[in-house]
């Protein structure tokens, strides 16, 4: 395959995740509403929200600094860079060699760092409460994610998502350590995306807020960028899970419009399935008290460590 078509596929992939992310949020909200016997907003509502927010004035707190204004764009850029590294319908694209899974985790960490710092910028109590809780959750979720990365990397012999996906397609099978990694990864994904049971994306109740509390001072186009980044992050985690554990339909080298259409359809199906599952999960379980969150994340960390240990003891790569 020529360089040009690879680059074309790369740009398609980058723009695809960007375009698809709000729809994923919308679809999840819709399914959740239907499960609760509400009609719910249309699936395309997040796009309208984004457009409306972009058109509004920004109301800045008087004592906010340049950091507060730059943060939304930086967070968006870091999240998008991470999302662009994940293969969605095709592996081995040029940009995917710029970083591996560890780099993706670290890019999301950079986005979170900037988010937490920006939340402290106005000097309000809600920004602080959100940042402090987010950092506590991250201090457990990030090591758990690294352990998941270790497990997967030891199985596949690589931390590069493209190589991992190709390996899983060819030689992947049922393994105890991979099952542990999957459970751990799902817990981490829920925590990182501020979903139930860690955080409720649709509440502004002060005792429960984590992620939303950090965004309270944002308005207008800044809020739009942050909402878009949050949607992108959700799609990113779903793409990672799909790419590692359910890589069916990924193109690993073949060409042709038909192959691309099939793999694209497979990817969309996976995303829809994930959104239905997520909505179902959020409907059947309740949110946890903040200080019970470490227990669940500790389980994820232990599962990741056990998976890694099993592979270390059995020889690994």
């Amino acid at each position: 395959m020529g360089m040009r078509s690879e680059l074309a596929a790369q740009f398609t992939q980058m723009l695809l995740v960007l375009a698809l992310a709000p729809a994923l949020t919308g679809a999840t909200r819709k399914v959740k509403a239907r499960l609760q016997r509400r009609i719910g907003p249309p699936v395309l509502q997040p796009y309208r929200d984004l457009r409306r927010l972009c058109g509004k004035d920004v109301v800045l707190a008087e004592n906010s600094s340049w950091l507060f204004r730059a943060a939304p764009y930086l967070i968006f850029a870091a999240t998008w860079a991470a999302a662009a590294l994940v293969p969605t319908f095709q592996t081995g694209l040029p940009f995917s060699w710029a970083g591996d899974l560890i780099a993706i985790v670290a890019l999301l960490g950079a986005a979170r760092f900037i988010q937490a710092v920006a939340a402290l910028d106005t000097g309000t109590s809600f920004g602080g409460i959100g940042a402090s809780r987010e950092l506590m959750i991250a201090s457990l979720a990030e090591p758990a994610m690294i352990m998941v990365v270790f497990t997967v990397a030891l199985v596949a012999g690589s931390t590069q998502l493209s190589t991992i996906a190709t390996f899983m397609l060819d030689k992947g099978g049922l393994r105890v350590s991979l099952a542990m990694a999957l459970v751990a990864l799902i817990i981490v994904a829920l925590a990182e995306n501020a979903r139930i049971p860690f955080d409720n994306p649709s509440t502004h109740l002060e005792v429960t807020m984590v992620h939303e509390a950090m965004l309270l001072e944002y308005s207008g186009r800044h809020l739009a960028m942050l909402e878009l980044a949050a949607s992108l992050k959700l799609l990113l985690y779903i793409s990672i899970i799909a790419c590692i554990f359910f890589p069916f339909g990924l193109i690993t080298g073949g060409t042709g419009l038909q192959a691309h259409a099939i793999s694209l359809a497979a990817y969309l199906l996976k995303v829809i399935a994930a959104s239905v599952l997520l909505a179902t999960l959020e409907t059947v379980i309740a949110k946890m008290r903040v200080f019970r969150v470490p227990n669940l994340l500790g389980i994820a960390l232990m599962l990741g460590l056990l998976g890694t240990l099993l592979l270390f003891v059995s020889g690994g790569m």
Binding site: G55, D57, V58, V59, L60, A61, N63, S65, L67, Y73, F76, A77, A78, A81, F95, W97, A98, G99, D100, I102, A103, A106, G109, A110, F113, V117, L120, D121, G123, T124, S125, F126, G127, G128, S132, L135, M136, A138, S139, L140, E142, P143, I146, M147, S158, T159, Q160, T163, E206, L216, G220, R221, F291, P294, L305, T308, L309, F312, V313, G316
Partner: protein, 665 residues
Amino acid sequence: MPMVLACITGLLVVSVLSLALLRHRTATPLVYGACLVISLALCAAALLSIGQASSQAVLPLGLPWLGAHFRLDPLACAFLAIVNFGAASASLYALGYGRHEKEPGRVLPFYPAFLAAMNLVVVADDAYSFLFTWEFMSLTSWALVMTRHRTAKTGYAGFVYLIMASFGTFALLFAFGLLAGAHGDYAFDAIRAHHLASGMAGLALLLAVVGAGSKAGLVPLHVWLPLAHPAAPSHVSALMSGVMTKVAIYAFIRIAFDLMGDPSWWWSLPALVLGGTTAALGVLYALMETDLKRVLAYSTIENVGIIFIAAGLALAFKASGLAGAAALALTAALFHALNHMLFKSTLFFGAGAVIVATGEQDIERLGGLIHRMPLSSGAFLAASMAISALPPFNGFASEWLLFHSILVSPQLPQMGLKLLVPAVGVLLALAAALAAACFVRAFGATYLGRPRTAAAAQAREADRWSLAAMLICATLCLLAGLFPGFVIDWLQPAVTALVTGHMPPQAGIPWLSIVPVSASRSSYNGLLLFSFMAASAGLAAVVVHRFASRTVRKAPFWDCGYPRPGILAQYSATSLAQPIRRVFGAITFAAHEQVEMPPPGDLRQARLRRFLRDPVWEFMYAPVASAVGTSATVLNRVQFLTIRRYLSLVFITLVILLVVLALWG
């Protein structure tokens, strides 16, 4: 080699000359200017000569039958570059910062001597010169710690530092004694040729870990570090944290990889276990602290732990003959040592600027400085992101290499290591995540929000020299993260000399990516990621501003509809750490909180008190200190006896010794 020795002599001469200049107003700029020039020359020499064959020199100093041996080999060059770049940036910073010193006479003579001592340790090539210069380094740095000797805290810090430094040197003395053997020669060449029995080697290694680790700040030998480093003036703090701990790490690497010969696998255990504990505990300590410079000192402890983990892994790989993996881990160690020098210097410079501007170093009494000190806050932010191992900065590149060396360790044949290394990996990942929390807290409480005191509200930006030093170091943090391949390639001669293997040459890899083992396994391209992020952030901003809205309205902050104007209503650093203190501190520090509520009708304020215990101090040092105290009280009586009793004491001692001698024979 002659040029390096001449430069070091130059530093010593500057130190002596500064005594004559003390009364003069130009003393400060002259001394720091001279140090800057000499350090830059040394740094350039080290940068250029790392790939060359090692050169030696013997001077007729020290022990008459030994002489003073000096040697410049690739490892020494790598550390010389680290030491002297740190020294140069600290001198540049001090050109501005040093003017605020009230008693320059307490800093100026010792500062060049301290720099010379650190250089001499790195080039020393026999045990006598090594230990002599090591002790010289301890004493000059002690003198610098005691600069502000009138505060009680400084006196205590100096006392603890002196005890721990002597203890460390003592351990190193025995380590070299064992390495040289009973009749051995103390030149390093002779020590290399001398092979130890397995048990003796283990003991020597343990002593080296204790000796070098106490200077580097390995838990549980770290207690002096968070006391002494912050007590010194800020440019000296930067040197002690960023550079002197590296000299200690150099000592460990020199002994374990070079002098001791072929390692056994279990040599890696102390470094791995202590390194992992140090990394996680160091950053937890930092999160509990509210003194800005002490936060930075504790974070130094964390980073020393990370470097020791990497060095321990390299030892394990070397022992099992995995040369490539050993090269990867050792490169990670050296790279992280370099990176830590860069960002920790920036952070201490920033802290120094804050202290000069406000007179406060408690982060609970700062805040809002980003408006008053925009440039230095930018440098501090960049260094904070770098030390939190976030791309595209340099801290991520070195920790990324370290994660990859953990990923190749299933190849190790020993079951013990297979079980240990993943656990160390968890500690490392925890340390990285907690470091991000720690620096969000440190940066946020210091520079963001609203000023908590009048002093913070009146702060002024640092002078030009200080700013230049901060910005240069922060820029280098970014550059080393964008082009890590050049640094890795530059370090390879030192790595190859110690573990025989080397990493794949990074210069030939397209697009300036870096590759730890092979391209199919993993690659990282900081430059590409950075360009993508910069482009997409810029593009997003342009598109939104062009096609949507660009108006901004200023208003009071919203705070979910309940804006409380009081300054203390904003989150404090202590409350920022509260969730983490509850999750991690409950076990490690027995942290708990207590609410004291006055009875109804009583108008006193309610109080929330928090309790923390330092387990290391309580279980290791406090018993020893109280034992020494008790025995001193008991023995004190001996001081006031009559001469008759003293004579009888002498007589009894003599008899006991004779009996012992008789029984011995």
